[in-house]
Amino acid sequence: MTQTPALLVLEDGRVFHGVGYGAEGETLGEIVFNTGMTGYQETLTDPSYARQIVAMTAPHIGNTGVNGEDAESARIQVAGYVVREPARVASNWRATGSLGSALREQGVVGIAMPGTRALTRHLRDRGAMRAGIFSGDAAAAPEAELLAKVQASPAMEGADLAREVSTTETYVVPAIGEKRFTVAAVDLGIKAMTPHRMAERGCEVHVLPATATAADILAVNPDGVFFSNGPGDPATAEGPVAALRGVLDAGTPFFGICFGNQIFGRALGLGTYKLRFGHRGINQPVQDRTTGKVDVSAHNHGFAVKAPLDGPFDTPYGRAEVSHVNLNDDCVEGLRLLDRPGFSVQYHPEAAAGPHDATGLFDRFCEIMEGSK
């Protein structure tokens, strides 16, 4: 195990000391914390974390190693990784390797440091911010120099990242069992579990690049259209918003997750804003405002939609309402059109990592596709 000194430098000048984990070198990005106690492999490979340095609040990371089944995309997506106690050995019957080696092989710079809780408290109070991890030779430079590097790095606000992580070519995930629907899924940073959840329900999923236009999407002749999660600031996503408007104009059933929810909100004429430190974890209580039921759900979002909570509101596509809220902070967690078949959620019903409480939303998507046939 490497024991090279490493530093985590925050944009506001706070510095944490630790030892290098994963690849040696330096990395810059927006630092965020994730409170999930399981699922580090899924988190690391979630494209929504592009250009973010992820700090895990759970102290022991890597205990079950990595395996060939749990990745949510082809590679580790995070810009950097902060943990407290990296595992010395991997122990799980499915493990094919250790997390430390996986990070090293993929060139992901990380730090193991005692102060992960102090870091979380800092970010909770001051908000997500830019940061850099410097290990090995990179850590030897004067701190002021490192801080300058951090402060010169681009901010997350205004970042248009979906295109960077999206597929460039359309591909098809076949339905498992009998095919019932054709779904056009726009990949803004999609996780592997999402098309899988649809395929399990008889959907043949055509995964399209983030640059897909309404015409590209409708050319698939879909029964329903899906916009995925993804990284970056939704305020920059002009292309996807325009594409979605075209889809809604055509009256095709729509379902969106996370970034897809924000795109949906913008298509309906709503604004988005950056949360102070976001929701990243797998224990967030989301209430379905129709049924009153609470789902414990997986979250990964730094931005949210601004929408009226007190009742239905008008949009170019008829009336809409906030369907789900987060009980921790009343953040908008879901939107629904009342006169047309379209809905979205800010959280992750596909889970991976996280609880499966909300997988019923994929059934709801199938129902509205069925109803519109």
Partner: protein, 1112 residues
């Protein structure tokens, strides 16, 4: 949804006495529940026979019945109180079973009482093995989940067994059907085993039927704590992973939260199964837990069982996460949903979430095998631990090492001293689960065993084994470091939980020197908050733990602070009674304007509830850990004092060193504590006060002991010096026994002499709890033991007020107690044990601290003794407390009026838990060594009914008709005649062994002679007494032990009889004094005198009496 408006009053059932498997955690959960219900404006009626609980404090419920928890008694309470609903899920299996009986026998329907928080059909589905298997199979099938039950096959012949074993694969579990207590069960590792075990099993089973089940020994074991509300919202509060794999009861396992070795996929599958199962079973609202086993090589998962109620694990999970399961379960039961209940800790977010931990919690069990010589120490699926300690750290190693030192037991912390021994031998030892196995693992690794070898021997997950290997590596680094320790090295060791003492051992330095070095290097722990959310939201409750981490979270405090040191893990001799006193001190001092700070490491207690004190430090009670807490508190405000007097021997043992380190100890000073504890000094105190102690001497050899015995006369009481709970104490009647005792004792501990005391035969033993402020003595209560002196006071039944002592005796006791309090310099509580023999009052011992009996005295006399003691320690006088109303205006517990209720305390013993290697029970006789785990109280107007209630609460009802078997030692024969005669008059048939029968017949009692066990069955197959007991033909046994312990003779006969009584649950009286009391109890029951009355009603009468009869 909101709270149900139709409920106005609720009956809560507690769990009764502390027994192995059902301990203080139910006081914690029950107290939480009662407080919640009361704060919701409901009238709360509580029944619990255990006086040593916070829940039975009169202010916790509106009507508190300290009565036996049996269906008929609870029915009387229901008839009197007419509650709208019964909440049965917070008092363990006792409460649940009682509630089910009341449901089944129609009482609930008769009185219109609704069962809330539980569904009878769901409970039955959860508890019936076959039904539960169907539930698991159904959810797996219908929801496509990875879940199953252990595969099993029913067999009726040996051929079927062999075929079944072939299918299931060895080893298989053999369970004969319908045998008592699972007799004949076992593991068959091969065909030879199978032929032997299943062969016997087929014979033993009345239906010639055995169940063969696949073995899941060595699989990984997990548990999930689940909560569900009436809107079907479900959350998993906590996952727990057992360090010890399957085969060891969870209560006896080291457990870790959260789970350490599951991927998200596996964890979510487990979560899905848990939720699907509780929905399918139909658990109403509230908490439940589900246990799982996972095959390490394949991930195959088996659902073992579920508990549809709050459990021991729920208490642990609550403390581990900050999510108060019992409190929330109570709210759910009255109609709230999870989203309507705020999370106390964040205050801003709701309870409908799953706690995220940014730390690791480790629980380790505490055993008491040394109390039961001969008991087999192998850990099995039958729980044997008597307590537990929990620790929190920022990683597993820190939490584990803190937890191990929290046990306060020798040879439990990791050590590298001396010859580590042969790795093979250590591995062999680790192969069989036992108390201290984790240390074998550590030493085996240190001695050169590999992770793979340890895994092969133990099946402990390799991740855990590697963590321990990591600890060894750091130890090696510390040990071999050249020159002085660097800051980095020392800090690294501290981050992995090394104590100053361990580091000192490795470096050949004293603990103090390491501490100085550490402080000089600026290395101190910080305190972090248990906040349910991994710091995502700010916490409002200072529930803290130490870690060598980045920044401290101790909030500043403006008020003067009092630090109360708790009592650590429950053990025999130091249990929930001490927690009671600590909690009371906290309440009283908060009321008096102090900020209260609790330090404790026992997750089962009320003291470690985050809202008991203003601040809670979940920390080991070692000198190092306490000094750091004191330092942290001094940094954040003013520490007015540290209380060491209430948590039993644990904090008392730290007093001297804390004071030396400059910590302000309040109450009785460490110098005064020494006066009471050191024999010579105490002798001088007695001499000055003109008080007598039994003649005594100290011996380091048999020759010396024999000389002393010759001088003071047999019988003598012998014990090693420096003992707790009567450890190793024996009464010796002759030279031969003395010789063998001395051989054992000096062998065990050559440095410590043996104390030889004159044993006062036929003396009345008296226990006194008193309060002293330097001027005035408040006699809390005078308790007269029912058993004669020589039986440990913790195991002896006692009555308050004393039932046979006269005014003059009480006056002498009061004067002696005052003289002692003054002589020692007590400020606060003191407990004194006296023996009254032939009119002479002897002082047996004095303890300048809260005793085990403080809660009993408080409840019997309706005076909050511990609260008053805490105030006295902070300088308030008894007179001031009288004026304030915390103590009665006049009079005290020694001057109770004639019509005061009589309270009887009875001890509860865990004999049925312990067997020797041959599977035989350990002996059940009482001795000077304390072995009880808990106690009950019976309270009523007269002694007979109070005693009957205490027996019913502890052991089940006394019989009012049937057969009594009597066999007593010669010295007891004279005293047995009258009570046995009375039993005959009451209509009992009397059976007796020959000698006893002869005496009875001469005195006109028709006693039938029954064959001794050692005589064997008669020529015509006449059964022995043991057989008759086993056949259920005897309703009461009177057997006083005689002869020397051994493998033959009368003592062995007695052993067989008492063992049979344990097996059949027949009441067994082992002293003549107990017999006399039992007869009074039987008379009371037979006369139909047993009613129910709440403590509040008793208090009302006493208050009236104190006012009028205050002068005594």
């Amino acid at each position: 949804m909101a709270r149900r408006e139709d409920l106005k009053s609720v009956l809560v059932i507690g769990s009764g006495p502390i027994v192995i498997g059902q301990a203080a955690e139910f006081d914690y959960s029950g107290t939480q529940a009662c407080r919640v219900l009361k704060s919701e404006g409901l009238r709360v009626t509580l029944v619990n026979s255990n006086p040593a609980t916070i829940m039975t404090d009169p202010e916790i419920a509106d009507a508190t019945y300290v009565e036996p928890i049996t269906p008929d008694v609870v029915e009387k309470i229901i008839a009197k109180e007419r509650p709208d609903a019964l909440l049965p899920t917070l008092g363990g299996q006792t409460a649940l079973n009682t509630a089910i009986s009341l449901y089944e026998n129609g009482v609930l329907a008769k009185y219109g009482v609704e069962l809330i928080g539980a569904d009878v059909a769901a409970i039955q589905a959860g508890e019936n093995r076959e039904k539960f298997k169907e539930v698991v199979a159904k959810v797996a099938r219908e929801q496509g989940l990875n879940a199953a039950s252990a595969r099993s096959l029913i067999c009726h012949t040996m051929d079927e067994c062999l075929a079944a074993a072939g299918e299931l694969g060895y080893p298989v579990v053999v369970r004969p059907s319908f045998t008592m207590g699972g007799a004949g069960s076992g593991f068959a590792h091969d065909e030879t085993d199978l032929r032997r075990i299943a062969g016997a099993g087929l014979d033993a089973s009345p239906t010639s039927e055995v169940l063969l089940e696949e073995s899941i020994l060595g699989w990984k074991e997990y548990e999930l704590e689940v909560m569900r509300d009436r809107a079907d919202n479900v959350v998993i509060v906590c996952s727990i992973e057992n360090f010890d794999p399957m085969g060891v009861h969870t209560g006896d396992s080291i457990t870790v939260a959260p789970a350490m070795t599951l991927t998200d996929r596996e964890y979510q599958n487990m979560r899905d199964v848990a939720i699907a199962v509780i929905r399918e079973v139909g658990v109403d609202t509230g908490g439940c837990n589900i246990q799982f086993a996972v095959e390490p090589g394949t991930g195959r998962m088996i659902v073992i069982e579920m508990n549809p109620r709050v459990s021991r694990s729920s208490a642990l999970a609550s403390k581990a996460t900050g999510f108060p399961i019992a409190k929330i379960a109570a709210k759910l039961a009255i109609g709230y949903t999870l989203d309507e209940i705020p999370n106390d800790i964040t205050a801003e977010t709701p309870a409908s979430f799953e706690p995220a931990l940014d730390y690791v919690v480790v629980k380790v069990p505490r055993f008491a095998f040394e109390k039961f010589p001969g008991a087999d120490g192998t850990l099995t699926t039958h729980m044997k631990s008597v307590g537990e300690a929990m620790a929190i750290g920022r990683n597993f190693t820190e939490a584990l090492q803190k937890a191990l030192r929290s046990l306060e037991q020798k040879n439990t912390v990791f050590s590298w001293a001396g010859d580590l021994g042969d790795p093979e031998a250590l591995l062999e030892s680790a192969r069989h689960p036992h108390d201290g196995r984790v240390r074998d693992v550590q030493r085996a690794l240190a001695a050169g065993a590999t992770t793979e070898q340890v895994y092969e021997a133990t099946h402990i997950d390799p991740w855990f084994i590697d963590q321990i290997a990591g600890i060894n590596e750091i130890a090696e680094e510390i040990r071999t470091a050249e020159d002085a320790l660097t800051r980095d090295k020392l800090l690294r060791a501290k981050r992995h939980g090394f104590s100053d003492a361990q580091i000192g051992e490795l470096r050949g330095l004293s603990e103090e020197v390491v501490r100085e070095l550490r402080h000089a290097l600026g290395i101190r722990p910080v305190y972090l908050t248990v906040d349910t959310c991994a710091a995502e939201f700010a916490a409002q409750t200072p529930y803290l733990y130490s870690a060598y981490d980045e920044e401290t979270e101790v909030p500043p405090g403006a008020k003067p602070k009092v630090i109360i040191l708790g009592s650590g893990p429950n053990r025999i001799g130091q249990g929930v009674e001490f927690d009671y006193s600590c909690v009371h001190a906290s309440f009283a001092l908060a009321d008096a304007g102090y900020e209260t700070v609790m330090v404790n490491c026992n997750p089962e207690t009320v003291s470690t509830d985050y809202d008991t004190s203003d601040r809670l430090y979940f920390e080991p009670l070692t000198l190092e850990d306490v000094l750091e807490v004191v330092h942290a508190e001094q940094q954040s405000g003013t520490v007015a004092g540290v209380i060491v007097q209430l948590g039993g021997q644990t904090p008392l043992g730290l007093a001297r060193k804390l004071k030396d380190a400059g910590v302000p100890i309040v109450g009785t000073s460490p110098e005064s504590i020494h006066l009471a504890e050191e024999r010579g000094a105490f002798g001088r105190v007695l001499h000055r006060a003109g008080l007598l102690a039994p003649k005594h001497g100290t011996a380091t050899s048999y020759e010396e002991a024999r000389e002393i015995a010759a001088e003071i006369g047999y019988p003598v009481l012998v014990r090693p010096s420096y003992v707790l709970g009567g450890r190793g104490m024996e009464i010796v009647y002759d030279d031969a026994t003395l010789e063998s005792y001395m051989a054992k004792a000096t062998d065990a501990s050559p440095d410590h002499p043996v104390l030889v005391d004159r044993f006062l035969d036929e003396a009345i033993e008296i226990d006194v709890d008193a309060l002293y402020d330097g001027e005035e003595l408040y006699l809390g209560g005078v308790m007269e033991h029912i058993e004669e002196a020589g039986i440990h006071s913790g195991d002896s039944a006692c009555a308050l007020p004393p039932i046979t002592l006269g005014h003059d005796d009480v006056r002498r006791i009061r004067e002696s107690t005052e003289a002692l309090a003054k002589g020692i310099g007590v400020r606060g509580l003191m407990n004194v044990q006296y023996a009254l023999s032939a009119g002479v009052l002897y002082v047996l011992e004095a303890n300048p601290r809260a005793s085990r009996t403080v809660p009993f005295v408080s409840k019997a006399t309706a005076v909050q003794l511990a609260k008053a003691a805490a105030r006295v320690m902070m300088g308030t006088t008894v007179a001031e407390l009288r004026a304030e109303g915390l103590l009665p205006e006049s009079g005290d517990g020694g001057s109770l009026p004639l019509d005061a209720p009589i309270a009887v305390k009875e001890a509860v013993l865990p004999f049925e838990r312990f067997r020797d290697r041959e599977g035989r029970f350990v002996d059940t006789i009482l001795s000077p060594e304390m072995r009880s785990t808990g106690e009950v109280m019976g309270i009523d107007e007269v002694f007979g009914t109070a005693y009957a209630k205490s027996q019913q609460a502890a052991y089940g009802p006394l019989p009012t008709k049937g057969r009594v078997f009597v066999s007593v030692a010669n010295r007891d024969k004279r005293h047995m005649i009258f009570p046995v005669k009375r039993l005959a008059d009451l209509g009992f048939e009397i059976l007796a062994t020959e000698g006893t029968a002869e005496v009875l017949r001469r005195n006109g009692v028709r006693a039938k002679i029954v064959r001794k066990h050692s005589a064997g069955p008669g020529p015509d197959g006449e059964p022995t007494i043991v057989q008759r007991v086993l056949d259920g033909e005897v309703d009461l046994i009177v057997n006083t032990p005689f002869g020397s312990p051994g493998q033959s003779g009368p003592r062995l006969d007695g052993y067989e009889i008492r063992t049979a009584s344990v097996l059949r649950g027949v009441p067994c009286v082992t002293t003549v004094q107990g017999l006399a009391a039992a007869v009074q109890g039987i008379e009371a029951i037979a006369a139909g005198l047993v009613g129910v009355r709440s403590l509040q009603e008793h208090a009302e009468r006493l208050r009236g009496a104190h006012g009028v009869l205050g002068q005594g």
